[in-house]
Amino acid sequence: MTRRIVPKLSKEEYEKNFSDVKPPLSKDAALLEANRCLYCYDAPCIEACPTHIDIPSFIKKIATNNLKGSARVIMESNIMGGTCARVCPVEILCEGACVYNNIKEAKPIDIGRLQRYATDYIFENNIQLFKREKDNGKKVAVIGAGPAGLSCAHKLSMLGYQVTVYEKKDKAGGLNLYGLAAYKITNEFVEKEIEYITSIGGIEIKYNQEVGKNVDIQDLLNSYDAVFIGIGLGKTPKLNIPGEELEGVYDAIQFIENLRINPLEKVSIGEVVAVIGAGNTAIDAATQAKRLGAKKVYIIYRRTQNEMPANIYEYNLALKDECEFLWLTNPTKIIGDTFVEAIECIRMELGEPDSSGRRMPIPIKNSEFLLKVDTVIKALGQISYTNFLTKIQGLELDKGRIKVNPETMQTSIPKLFAGGDCINGGKETVNAVQDGKLAALGIHKMIFS
């Protein structure tokens, strides 16, 4: 018996399936949309944005064809405005707050794509909006070159700091580069944005430097004026069921990363795929499995749609890609000799609320059933680097997350600041960017007041 693997698609099919899910607006479309914005006073979209971009202001500037000014408004608040324009769950953030939602059957402003329109302009025309202040003689170490770390580094450099970023991989970008669906953002863009951020100077990224392995955090704390930690999260937890080691069982984070770092035709996928979990990452994995050519993709979740962590936009993407949700279903066994041949699941029902406040799923006895699948993708969230974090003397954690002052991002260790997924348990790029920005300001405040 051999594994049922989807044959390679044509180049055109890959291109079509993985093309921009939200293509850029044309100039005419951007102007029409910009002119539709009401330019609200104390606009709710600003509050809904974790980085508080002055959205009506940047949209007004698009309408007056002041694109440089528009991009400046965006990127002063959010240096990764380009990435966030592409990947933000705008439906539950800015666009979800647009007052047009209060008009029956009216559509909110397409804020995400307008933001992309403005930020694309400065990237396409190589306009550097920022200038680093004179060196202030202070040095900060940043651990992790993901969105939180890069945001922090940029703000610090702007303020005159010398920043050294320690990145464990050989490329910067973090989940922007490794953790987002390929149809949302391209590697070229991520690289361009990082180049833009670092080109103001004062930022040195040291690659293949894993703090806790070849770099010691105490050394950093001793030799720098402050340290920012933005290490994100680690692996997906194990299912702890038989068969997890079989060929064809993947970690969703790894699967998504494979799609970003390898040519698409090099990533193989089984004919029938089971994705375990119903968060945004599960959907990124499921939709991409489908787009790689899988005939059938199940999204298996032990609770119901009401409890699913994925947002409505992602959920709709999965439906559009014809993924099938199996609610109140939990895997019990992965079956196969050397590779995945089937998965055994059990039906669940909801009981009393658990510690998360959501109703606890309970297995229904003797309701096991088999699904013939060829690939299993585990998307159960990510666990924090508890092993590393608990070794840092004096660092307070809460459920594996680093505890910080939410205004300054300062941890229980005065010189140590933190932000991003390692403090929030896994949120959006935009949250990480905000954390990094606040931490930079927090560091500045600590050092100079």
């Binding site: 002119n35 539709r36 009401l38 609200c40 006073y41 104390d42 606009a43 007052v99 209060n102 008009i103």
Partner: protein
């Protein structure tokens, strides 16, 4: 059934919608297409000794995504020989006997020249004559158009020359580029003209190109002031129409209303303020002749709803409602009210009142709610909040009886002596 047929100083048309003298009435082809679409009449593009036009001759202003809120032109009168235009008028009139065809004329300010063209126009079978005393550009530099229209004595003189030979109705088209429109209107009346039409275009520069620094429309490295029209000029035209209609010495002078009319609603407004019919150009330049369909349809539906059987039932109904400020009631009081169920919390009313008006709107905000409310004791009833509100009927102006009788400015002064 309502009857929308029109009789303007003896010129009959199936509806009150005429095409104004302009590019859409430049030649037989256009005019007949207009008639096919349903237009009741057409004032032919001004006939005179043929001119030469510049290329690049229109420019416009946009507002937000709305194109052509106002346009201007530096085009002159017809560039085709007089005899060609007159021959086509004859032909159109033959094909479309039920439609009004009026010839717009402009020649040099000589009695013989005017006598000659008027006679030839009558021979062509035109239903009437419109005297173009309005063009503010080009022709005015040659002593014609608004150069005539701006001097009431000239208006009277030339109109007299026309009236003394014309056996068909004479309409004097007035320029708005004058401090008081009633002066040339009275001059036209004095000369025996049968009607006036207004407004012609307003002298204007629509904008400047920010790269070449040349104003628009760009002709090489220069531009010229041009005649402005379109939706943006409607309020100016309405006021001028009303000021003639309400003038004690011109109550019986028929008016053909022109200026930014795009819809049946605009047309009705002109007619309520005293115009017997209306003329349209810019809206056709924007959308084509087909717009007349809704103008006819909308007008009929509105008349039916209001119980008007014919145009005369409502023409001029609003004339008496335009008064001097000094006659207005100082004790009339309205205040704004915000319908909280309809409010979408855009805050536009608040910031407008706060920065530009009377700080009469309060803003409450906490983690869960936002609320904008009128502070009635501060509200002067200016209407600004209602105007900026993007939601229909969300902000309404409500009358408050302050328990005081009518009092105008003179009475107020008397009382406060």
């Amino acid at each position: 059934m309502v009857d929308i047929s029109s009789n303007f100083v003896g010129i009959k048309s199936p509806n009150p919608f005429w095409l104004a003298s302009a590019p859409p009435t430049d030649k037989q082809y256009n005019v007949e297409r207009g008639f096919e679409a349903g237009w009741g009449g057409a004032v032919w593009k001004t006939i005179g000794n043929p001119i030469v036009n510049v290329s690049s001759r229109y420019s416009s202003i946009d507002f937000g995504s709305k194109r052509m809120v106002g346009i201007n032109n530096i085009e002159l009168i017809s560039d085709r020989p007089i005899e060609v235009n007159l021959k086509e008028i004859k032909s159109v009139k033959k094909h479309w006997p039920d439609r009004a065809v009026v010839a717009s004329l402009m020649v040099e300010s000589k009695k013989e020249a005017w006598h000659d063209i008027v006679k030839r126009t009558m021979d062509a079978g035109a239903d009437g004559i419109e005297l173009n005393f309005g063009c503010p550009h080009g022709m005015s530099e040659r002593g014609m158009g608004s150069a005539v229209g701006q001097v009431p004595e000239y208006v009277c003189q030339i109109a007299e020359w026309v009236v003394e030979v014309s056996e068909i109705p004479v309409i004097v088209k007035l320029t708005p580029n004058i401090s008081d429109i009633t002066y040339p209107a009275l001059a036209a009346k004095r000369a025996g003209a049968h009607a006036v039409s207004l407004i012609n275009t307003i002298n204007s520069i629509t904008g400047v190109d920010l790269d070449s620094f040349v104003p628009r429309p760009i002709v090489g490295n220069a531009s010229s002031h041009g005649g402005y029209c379109g939706p943006a000029v409607k309020p100016i035209a309405l006021n001028m129409v009303a000021s003639i209609a309400s003038h004690p010495d011109m109550k019986d002078l028929p008016i053909s209303g022109i200026g930014g009319i795009s819809t049946w609603r605009d047309a009705v407004e002109f007619m309520l303020l005293g115009a017997s019919n209306v003329q349209v150009c810019t809206a056709v330049m924007n959308y084509g002749f087909r717009i007349v369909e809704d103008m006819i349809d909308g007008l009929k539906n509105w008349m039916e709803q209001k119980g008007f059987k014919k145009l005369d039932d409502f023409i001029g109904l609003s004339v008496g409602k335009v008064k001097n400020w000094g006659d207005l009631d100082l004790n009339y009081k309205v205040v704004a009210n915000i319908n909280q169920d309809k409010c979408i919390k855009c805050g536009l009313c608040y910031i407008a009142c706060e920065d530009a008006s009377h700080q009469a709107i309060s803003y409450f905000k906490d983690k869960y709610t936002k609320k904008y409310e009128i502070i009635e004791k501060e509200c002067v009833g200016c209407n600004l909040c209602q105007m900026v509100c993007p939601i229909q009927d969300c902000i309404t102006m409500e009358q408050r009886n302050i328990g005081a009788p009518y009092m105008n400015w003179a009475m107020y002064q008397e009382q406060n002596k």
